[in-house]
Amino acid sequence: MKLTESLSFRNVTGRPGRSAALVILTFLMAVSVVCGTLTVTSLRTGLGALEARLGADIMTVPASAVSKQNFENIVMQGSKGYFYMDRSYYDKAAEREGIEKISFQLYLASASAGCCSVPLQIIGYDPETDFTVSPWIRKSAGRELGDLDVVVGNDLSVFVGSTITFYGVECNVAAKLDKTGTDLDTAVYTNLNTIKKLIASSVELGMNEFTDIDPDRVVSCILIKVADGYPVDEVLNDLNLHVRRTKSFRTKDMISGVSDSLTGVSDIVGVLMCAVWLLGLAVLFLAFRMSVNERKKEFAVLRIAGASKKKLAGIVMSEALMITLAGAAVGIIIGLLMMISFNGLIEESTGLPFLLPDGGAVALCAVFALAVSVIGGMISAVWTAGRISRIDAGVILRGEN
């Protein structure tokens, strides 16, 4: 029999008000599940991308410039601040024990980037010693950066091959990086020669708050990879003790703040999701029960017209299936539409690394939400179906005098 001619379908469409209410309920369940799982997955993906991007075990910055709080900001929020220290600190740090690799970066904030009034952070790295950024720059650019080449974060909508001007110096956009879901996505990366040129130009134009720096003699941040067999904490303490007027941090510690709040957010989302799901389940259970109870007599009529017990249970179950399937499908489509459209807003407003996973994982979330909603609907209908299959048509019809 065609679906539209089946009794269940007519029962569902014949009562648009009741059906719509139940569809909306499953719709809400599906939206909460798809948004919840996608949020948790995106936060995990974001944290993974952030860890991969940071690379170094220890970062050292001038003590005068930072407290831990805003250093975390530099990494996480791409704070537009910048600072310098003499290169001798770098040489001193390099002499310490337990260091496998050491490199440095130079920071600069752009005054204005062509179109938008918000300054960008420009990060210059030393191609000879770098071990943190060049691997993925090489990956996205396909080559080493030449002078006046820049690699831009994913949040900058400039095309590869176009140019971008900082302090009157025109640079070529060589590549665009993958998204991390943090403000690192608005950073611009360039090699040492280019950043020196930019710093010099900014000083010349009087637009750098450090008026008397020599780009060849300064560094902003020292990046260290600890050699195998040395505990990171020991090397860290050693650096803090012996390289004076600098402050060293474990990059893991900086992420751990993020990772803690991320776990918190994930937990809250998970609890909320379960609550909505259980509540929906309970309401659906009651709704199915009520909708069948008020139709007890109709089911008795079906029974006398030759419906077996199995058939009655089947009718209840397929009504539930149609309703939950419709609600879940619409809910998942709308949920995905919202999450994918507004992921930038979520990232901005939570300040957490929020990175949508790839298409496959998103599809998996959708399938999961569909399964959870439909299974939930089925579970809440099973009891009613069992009950209705045991009704005694004779007794029900007799009782209606």
Partner: protein
């Protein structure tokens, strides 16, 4: 109840279109002017969406008020491509700001996309229902 059954499309479409038109100038407007008073690229996308929103609102109000079934069906059909094009204005037909973490990328574009898609979907559902009831009616 019967009115609701006949006019739901007009009501939903008018509400969404008005929200789009007014919202793009208020709740989810694009980035404001730069310090020197000049507009950024996204402002022109906002203007285009505003214009398109006015058109959608007018068509929706007609769907709400006109009683001729055939005319209503035609108007609902017209809403679908108009809303689809509106969804594509920010970012495709008209550029936005350079940094995708800016307001026009995080708020304006997704809001316009979502509302436009909802408008197109509502019109599509209305068209399908109208066509089916024209074809059906007898068993």
């Amino acid at each position: 109840m019967k009115i609701l059954k006949q006019r739901w499309a007009g009501i939903v479409l008018t509400a969404l279109s008005l929200f789009l038109t007014i919202g793009v100038k208020t709740v989810f407007a694009a980035c404001g002017p730069k310090e020197d008073g000049s507009w950024m690229a996204c402002h022109w996308a906002e203007q285009a969406v505003f214009a398109s929103g006015i058109v959608l609102s007018c068509i929706s109000v007609m769907i709400l008020l006109i009683s001729d079934e055939k005319v209503r069906l035609g108007l609902s059909l017209a809403v679908i491509p108009a809303a689809a094009v509106t969804a594509l204005i920010p970012g495709v037909f008209s550029g936005l700001c350079m940094m995708t973490n800016m307001h026009c990328h995080t708020v304006t574009r997704p809001s316009v996309t979502v509302i436009s898609v909802l408008i197109a979907a509502a019109a599509l559902v209305d068209v399908i229902i109208k066509l089916r009831s024209r074809k059906g009616g007898s068993r």
